[in-house]
Amino acid sequence: MEIKRQRLDSGDGTITDFRLRQMQARNMLRGEITDEDLERYVEERVLTTTVDKAVAWAQGNSLYPLTFGLACCAIEMMSIVGARMDIARFGFEAMRASPRQADLIILSGRVSIKMAPIIRRLYDQMLEPKWAISMGACCSSTGVFNNYALVPSDKFMPIDVHVPGCPPRPEALMHGILRLRDKIQGNSREGWRQRYEAIGTEELVEGEAPLASANINVFKPGDTAGA
């Protein structure tokens, strides 16, 4: 491609588009544009949106995660702020040491039943709006430590995004955080069944009634009641 260098006023007296816009802006600031000219000027330059959308856009691009690690997943979590993953590209790099300043908690590791009330308290201390990511198999389903000592995080607090893996690679966590950003900004993607048009492929045993649901003490997304 040929690159042409051009003077802003093109040198021969004719005013280029860019120069014209500069002059218009100057005139507008001086108050020299009026009536139809002013209306056209505003129409060309102003983008309208709702406050909610603008706020969501800002929130989604400036998440402050809580400095909080639980187990081996925390090592992977730490690496996302490093140079290779560099979460600062998306504005999530400011790890806050206090739940009062944080608006994202990443549960990175196994949650024992002794730790669960402490995590719940930290989550309750965070200011609204707040989000939570459950990172790794242990935190989402107790994983390989499926025994008397652990509790899955959905049982005691609402979780927005689950990141699978044991432990998830930093890229996976990054993907989870970007999914959370999509969710905050209101363009939440659908689940895999919707995406791959696979509704109706659930494997239900024929003629067997579903087991009685064990949905005790379970929080729905966004439900922070009972805090």
Binding site: K114, S141, N146, Y148, A149, P152, E203, L204
Partner: protein, 169 residues
């Protein structure tokens, strides 16, 4: 390790101190074990301590279900000068799981006795602060006993995902 003969001599020495403190001895794969009468644990450990076994390397519980008495408390002693080890095993019933505490003799046994209490429910009489150490204080049951349910969450596959606690649709 004392050899099999040395173990018998040690057992005989202990029987001279107190006639019914040692029930039996086993010598297996080079590991010498004294099986003792639980209430006499301090007599035995004091004597061994005087013989040079002055380091309690480990104190732990075992559940021998379905054998009776079910629970075992093991003391692994180490003689640091001779580099010699000996195990002391006491068997207690689950109904009356009591054994004297050895924190007086080995202060390091404090947390290990608490752990054995937490996991197996062995009560160490005379322990200065016998509380649960790993599980929450209001936890019910002793999770390392063999008859304790494994617990945990059912593993979710696609066939049972309808019962998933995380599924809200």
């Amino acid at each position: 390790m004392p050899d099999a003969t040395g173990l018998e001599l040690t057992a005989q020495e202990l029987r001279d101190v107190d006639a019914d403190c040692v029930f039996d001895t086993t010598f297996q794969r080079g590991r010498a074990t004294l099986i003792i009468n639980p209430p006499k644990v301090m007599t035995v450990l004091k004597h061994l301590h005087g013989k040079g076994y002055d380091f309690l390397a480990s104190l732990h519980g075992v559940d021998y279900y379905p054998e009776e008495p079910r629970l075992g408390v093991l003391y692994e002693l180490l003689d640091m000068k001779q580099v010699d080890r000996i195990s002391v095993k006491a068997r207690v019933h689950t109904e009356a799981a009591h054994i004297p505490s050895v924190t007086e003799l080995f202060p390091g046994a404090d947390f290990q006795e608490r752990e054995a209490f937490d996991m197996f429910g062995v009560v160490f009489d005379g322990h200065p602060d016998l509380r649960r150490i790993l599980m929450p204080e209001d936890y019910e049951g002793y999770p390392q006993r063999r008859d304790f349910p494994v617990g945990g969450e059912p593993v979710l596959f696609t066939f049972n995902e309808q019962q998933n606690y995380g599924k809200w649709v």
